[in-house]
């Protein structure tokens, strides 16, 4: 069952690769995503037994992440047909694009369900490799450069991730245990792990997976890639792949907690979280390119989540909720930004203004997405950020909380300046009102609806799922 979760999209990808007509491929993408989502929801509702002596396990955290990934993936996939239809000149690459996109869906779920750290690593590396062609979709020099940087920085980061995994295994070995990379074994043996090795392992893992998450100072690839990649790819990377890397990080946090070294790990997380928020804020002020701005926003939100994980307690719940909100909020922003980018043929804020007149729906959604992502009520991210801040205050780390709030405000200012200059402006400054394709509007609208729902009403099943996942992350029985 779990294996199907991984293999189904990959198979569909192969099918799409084989498929003759571009349109058919795009529809294959949608169907693949839909099937995957259905499967994911099903397994989330009725968790299947572990497979391959507990290499693939779906525990509460996975039950939260897997459906999130695939539903967000589905919404992005819905966007694909209209998106590609608007780019007839890219017919040829359409083949690779569709195949890799689906494969990416599969590898991401692999990361979410695999409980063998080595296998998880393979999943991350694989998803990095399949996403490279997606970024190079446009075949422009700029996208080529972005891909190159993505690949090299990503590979170095992932290499460190592997190194860290080895350190983890060694910590068992040199702690006198039988060395293993099976998550359960490590958790069981955690109290006896050799502390110095464990600490070194966590540091290296944090840097390694932090590179994929996009924590400062390992975030440098994000603006380039999100700026150059197609909007939908940006949405999947920011909403999905980052989440996968976060999941991995949470697993290591669990091991540290089980080993009784949670404190060190958490303080590291707090430091890197605040650092990322700060860097993001600094680069959002006076940002000229609204797609790069979204990348920095992603860095900021990864920082928020990691900060929340570091604070712990209620903040962990908040961080998990924030993962949800961030994935869908990023979906809104990237897709609408894609619409505007296509409409204006530029992603510089200087060239785009008064979009609300020309593309009322896209621009309106973009604005709403901005308010959603910056954590204004009634959107879900308000609740999650509130939870994190409340947790910070409750844990008595007032300095951290103050910095957290201050940075949030700074980001709001920096991001708002760009968004508003894009959305508002004199009527007809750039041209008359244009007809918008409904298919490019429905997916972001759905994403926004989800974020709104998270803020207005967290259904009990979701609440309990979040609580269970938080309990797992915190290693609470």
């Amino acid at each position: 069952m779990l294996l199907a979760l991984v293999l189904l999209p990959i198979a569909m990808g192969a099918l799409a690769f084989a498929a003759p007509s571009p349109r058919l491929r795009t529809y294959l993408v949608v169907t693949g995503a839909a099937l995957h989502a259905a499967l994911a929801v099903f397994v989330a509702c009725s968790p299947p037994p572990p497979m391959f002596d507990r290499w693939l396990v779906l525990e509460p955290l996975g039950r939260l992440i897997v459906p999130l990934l695939s539903v967000q993936f589905l919404l992005c996939a819905l966007y694909v047909p209209a998106y590609l239809a608007a780019r007839p000149e890219r017919q040829r690459q359409n083949r690779v694009f569709c195949a890799c996109l689906l494969a990416l869906g599969g590898t991401m779920s692999l990361v979410a369900v695999s409980h063998h750290l080595g296998l998880m690593w393979v999943g991350i590396e694989a998803s990095a490799l399949v996403s490279a062609p997606l970024i190079y979709f446009y075949r422009t020099p700029r996208s080529l450069e972005a891909t190159w940087k993505y690949l090299l920085i990503g590979s170095v980061g992932v290499a460190f991730a592997l190194y860290g995994s080895f350190f983890l295994a060694s910590s068992a070995l040199h702690g006198g245990q039988v060395s293993s990379l099976l998550f359960e074994d490590l958790v069981r043996a955690a109290p006896h792990l050799s502390k110095p090795w464990l600490h070194a392992a966590f540091v290296i893992l944090l840097i390694g997976y932090g590179t994929k998450i996009g924590l400062a100072p390992m975030h440098t690839w994000k603006p380039d890639v999100y700026g150059e990649a197609p909007a939908v790819v940006g949405a999947v990377l920011a909403g999905g792949l980052s989440t996968c890397a976060l999941t991995a990080l949470m697993r290591f946090l669990q091991i540290c907690t089980a080993a009784g070294d949670g404190q060190l790990a958490r303080s590291l997380l707090v430091v890197f979280g605040l650092l990322s928020m700060g860097v993001a804020a600094a680069f959002m002020i006076g940002q000229r390119d609204y797609k790069r701005m979204l990348a920095y926003s992603s860095v900021e939100h990864m920082g928020i989540i990691v900060f929340g994980l570091g604070i712990g307690g209620l903040a962990t719940y908040g961080a998990l909720l924030h993962i949800l909100g961030n994935s869908f909020g990023k979906g809104v922003l990237f897709m609408t930004a894609g619409n505007l980018h296509r409409g204006y043929g530029s992603k510089l804020a200087a060239d785009v203004s008064g979009a609300i007149h020309r593309f009322p729906a896209s621009a309106g959604l973009f604005l709403a997405g901005f308010f959603a992502i910056t954590g204004s009520p009634p959107f879900g991210l308000f609740l999650s950020e509130l939870a994190i801040a409340r947790g910070a205050f409750a844990s008595g780390s007032y300095l951290g909380a103050a910095l957290f709030l201050a940075l949030l405000a700074t980001v709001f200012i920096g991001m708002g300046a760009v968004v508003i200059s894009v959305v508002q402006g004199p009527r007809g400054a750039e041209g008359p009102r244009e007809r918008e394709q409904r298919l490019t509007l429905v997916p972001p609208a759905l994403c926004l609806a989800v974020v709104l729902l998270l803020g207005v009403y967290v259904p009990p099943w979701l609440d309990s799922a979040l609580r269970e996942a938080a309990a797992v992350v915190e290693m609470r029985p």
Partner: protein
Amino acid sequence: MSSLLEPLLVTVLLLNMFVLGATRLRAVIGASAAQGVCLGVLTVTAHGEITFEVVAIAIAAVAIKAVVIPRLLYKAMRDAAIARDVAPLVGVIPSLVIGALGTVFAVVFAGTLPFAGAHAGTLVLPSSLATVLTGCVVLTTRRKAITQVVGYLILENGIFILGLSLLDAMPFLVEVGVLLDLVVGIFVMAIIIHHVSREFSASTDAAELAELKE
């Protein structure tokens, strides 16, 4: 634990220094390949009993690290008409010094970590870490894209060394998966280098791309 282990690790360390000191691209690639061979032998020697998995991994390692990838790189050099010198950002002597410092750091750091039984006092961790750092030095101080690929390769070698002590932790499948990822990764990189040399004039190099910035 056979007596071959230590000499081989020392060889690896010497190869690191050679990589840092070399000024010819082919030499650097060759050195990385040689490291690959060492690793293959190490895989066997690190384990007393010879099992199928061990041999298979050793052969795979040698094949990939010492044959496939170097060939790939040579091919890329030819296709992209990459000049044969290394073109370092930081001179040879300074990079040697940095490498030496890295090795020292590795040894000191390894000193702070406890080792259980048989592994106590071996050079495994120091050499692994030193190799990783050498890879990083190459990655950050050598201008050309292809040298960066080599740097990445050396980095992976360093990681592989640490992996040796954990063969029973790392199941066969994963080991192969790791190697496979390595190949694919470097293959894709080579493709990109190829594209770059096609998109831009042959003289420009992937590592010189700095269009995307604030």
